[in-house]
């Protein structure tokens, strides 16, 4: 049993599991979610590095979507942790190199601290938005949406075949490694042996490709037409357009409007 490979894919396929649960958010067209995610990513990435208040405001979108879509925060946090190491290094370099104080007379906090916090917040929000997109649409919905957006069917077909066979070949690779481990008496894998293992795996990939090609041929694939990979994309409904418009308008307001400062001012005016 290739524990490593199946653990890996269990973790990744959690994304598809979320997409199979039926909530109203998942019944929307995948293109809606793609458009909102792209607008959100552009808004978050276009903010100046020291603008933390608008980032906090923009965090409302992933919070709302994960609550409405039934996606646990722990899943989003784990995916953000994967991309974290390099970002943490850059954030630390900001703290180290930019020591201008924000408040005159106080050594801390510095502009570097603000930049680091802003960078980590951007990481969390961008990864959350991308993870939510996949969790809400699933790979099948996403590829249908991509076809609707005129992505070449060859690329979508590639995605499908890769998704299907990556687990199969990962299992084969794990079996090869386990067999070698059991026979190697603890010696580490040298580059020459790795070349042979990789070559073996490559030959198995070619053989399997040959079998898949014959199977596709018997099911009508003529080497040109990719009709089998094209799914009919349904028309966008009023609900899809309405939801996308509301979310994008909200994102634009959070990015360009007077945002948190305006809300704060109004609250202070109400206070006695």
């Amino acid at each position: 049993m290739s524990q490593c490979a199946s653990n890996l894919w269990t973790a990744a396929l959690h994304a598809d599991d979320f997409a199979r649960r039926d909530t109203w958010l998942r019944r929307l067209d995948p293109r809606t979610h793609v458009a909102i995610t792209v607008a959100y990513l552009l808004a978050a990435m276009s903010l100046p590095l020291h603008d933390l208040s608008r980032l906090i405001l923009l965090a409302a979108y992933p919070v709302w979507t994960s609550l409405a879509g039934g996606i646990p925060f722990a899943y989003l946090a784990r995916r953000a942790a994967i991309a974290a190491p390099w970002i943490v290094l850059v954030a630390v370099s900001w703290i180290w190199l930019d020591r201008r104080p924000l408040v005159p007379g106080h050594a801390w906090p510095t502009a570097g601290d603000l930049a680091a916090a802003s960078l980590l917040a951007r990481l969390a929000l961008t990864v959350a938005a991308a993870s939510l997109l996949l969790a809400l649409t699933g790979l099948s919905g996403l590829t249908a949406g991509l076809l609707g957006m005129r992505v070449p069917p060859l690329c979508v077909a590639q995605l499908w075949i890769l998704h299907r066979y990556a687990l199969v070949l990962s299992d084969e690779a794990a079996r090869l490694l386990r067999a070698r481990e059991l026979r190697s008496a603890g010696h580490r894998l040298t580059w020459r042996q790795a070349g042979i293992l990789l070559g073996q795996l490559c030959v198995r990939a070619f053989d399997r490709a040959e079998r898949v090609h014959r199977a596709m041929g018997m099911r009508g694939f003529d080497g040109h037409s990719l009709r089998a990979f094209e799914t009919r994309t349904r028309r966008l409904r009023a609900t899809d357009l309405a939801y996308a418009s509301v979310m994008i308008l909200w994102i634009l307001w959070a990015r360009f409007g007077d945002g948190a400062a305006g809300l704060g001012r109004r609250l202070m005016q109400l206070a006695p």
Binding site: Q3, C4, L8, T10, A12, A15, V38, L41, L42, M45, R78, R79, I82, A83, P85, I87, S93, W94, G112, R122, T126, L134, L139, P152, C155, Q158, I161, L162, H163, R164, Y165, A166, L169, S170, E172, A173, A174, L177, E181, R188, L189, T190, W191, G195, I196, L197, L198, G199, L201, C202, V203, A205, F206, A209, V212, H213, M216, F221, G223, L226
Partner: protein, 397 residues
């Protein structure tokens, strides 16, 4: 021990395997032998247990780039992928779709196989860009690598979505459209090419491809303005490591390709035609001149500026004569990333009275020169492709 530098998706698998460590014990009734198989122990060798070489550094996250850089790279990716699809349909009568898909899955699975690098104590794994190009050709290789990177970004959060354009350019387009035709093909397709020369060509192409990819990461991050590091520091961090990584990648690719040639020679693709050595030499010469010899460019004013300084002193500071001049000057100020052929650094202006030292050794100047050359060359090729006459195709019966 989970290495910091391991590919992100395998780190996640390691974490899960550790949390769910299963101890399987088998006892034979007849004998006294007890066999214990500890899956956690076996997972150490199956995943990236040791320090692996830089699976983390090349996949850029969304937080590290600005929308301008991200969208520009997406446009470049879109153009390259469209070109690859078009060329693939033109050059093959039958789409090698299962082979492309399965080799993409192979690249995925191949990243599990970590091998030790002699003398360093660390280990490495195959990235796969150059290997795919050697097995499938540059056009199919770009599509396959782009798919692999997309799956990694979507399913494993290894690289951002808006940064996917950058990642595809750095890790798919550079090996297939730059390293392969400019480095591998001219060397490997010489008439007296021996296996040693082809090995050298593979290793050099892998090193050049990874080095250029890392350089592109540095440029994209700096142009996005999210890091406080200077170009020199960032480049010093990224480039030497990726030179070593490229060497490892090249050696692994050579090992795989030679084994395949022995066992299944039909799987390794021979380059269709000899690459243009002239183009390769011109390209490398341009990079050498722009990147290195530019330090010896004179920093004295040229003939026109010298004349104007003597006949109309103070002409540079005079206000623009019309609104159109002022508007265009504002546009130029906003769009010039490399004013005076160096990086714009507001804190490091030279005092006006000092004459700058010669040669003006400056990495900013080198970068400006290299990027300018690449942009000019790219624009020239694009215009040339648009205006060249289309070859007539023979009518089909």
């Amino acid at each position: 021990m989970t290495g910091l530098w391991a590919p992100a998706h395998w780190r996640e698998a390691q974490t899960i395997a550790r949390q769910q460590a299963v101890l399987a014990t088998t006892e034979r009734v007849a004998g006294e032998t007890v066999i214990r198989l500890t899956t956690s122990g076996m997972n150490d060798s199956m995943g990236p247990a040791e320090l692996s070489h830089g699976g983390f550094s090349m996949h850029m996250a969304d937080a590290l780039i600005s929308p301008a850089v991200g969208l520009t790279m997406w446009a470049v990716t879109g153009g390259c992928v469209a070109q690859a699809v078009r060329r693939l349909r033109n050059e093959t009568t039958e789409l090698p779709l299962p082979r492309m898909g399965l080799l993409g899955a192979f690249v995925f699975a191949a990243q599990m196989i970590n091998f030790s690098i002699p003398g360093t104590g660390s280990s490495g794994h195959l990235a796969g860009g150059l290997l795919l190009t050697l097995l499938l050709g540059p056009n199919a290789a770009i599509l396959v690598m782009a798919t692999v990177l997309t799956i990694q970004a979507l399913l494993f959060a290894d690289g951002g979505l808006l940064a996917l354009g950058c990642n595809i350019v750095n890790m798919a387009v550079v090996p297939a459209y730059v390293a392969y035709p400019l480095v591998y093909r001219p060397l490997a397709t010489l008439s007296n090419s021996s296996s040693a020369r082809r090995r050298l060509a593979t290793v050099l192409a892998a090193m050049v491809g990874l080095e250029l990819g890392a350089f592109a990461v540095v440029v994209q991050t700096l142009l996005s303005g999210v890091t406080p590091l200077s170009f020199a520091t960032f480049a010093a961090l990224m480039l030497p490591i990726h030179l070593a990584i490229g060497l490892v990648e090249g050696i692994a690719t050579v090992a795989v390709v030679e084994w395949l040639e022995r066992v299944r020679p039909e799987t390794v693709r021979k380059p269709a035609q000899a690459g243009s050595r002239v183009a390769a030499i011109l390209g490398l010469a341009t990079l050498f001149i722009a990147g290195f010899l530019s330090w010896w460019a004179s920093n004295q004013p040229d003939g026109l500026e010298w004349s104007l300084q003597r006949t109309a002193p103070g002409w540079e500071e005079s206000p623009p004569p019309s609104k159109l001049h002022a508007a265009l000057a504002r546009v130029q100020q906003r769009t010039s990333w490399f004013p005076d052929y160096a990086f714009a650094s507001p804190g490091e202006q030279e005092p006006a009275n000092e004459t700058p030292a010669w040669p003006t050794v400056s990495l900013g100047t080198s970068l400006a020169g290299v990027l300018g050359s690449v942009i000019v060359l790219g624009a020239t090729v694009a215009v040339g492709l648009l205006v060249r006459p289309r070859a007539r195709q023979a009518p089909t019966p």
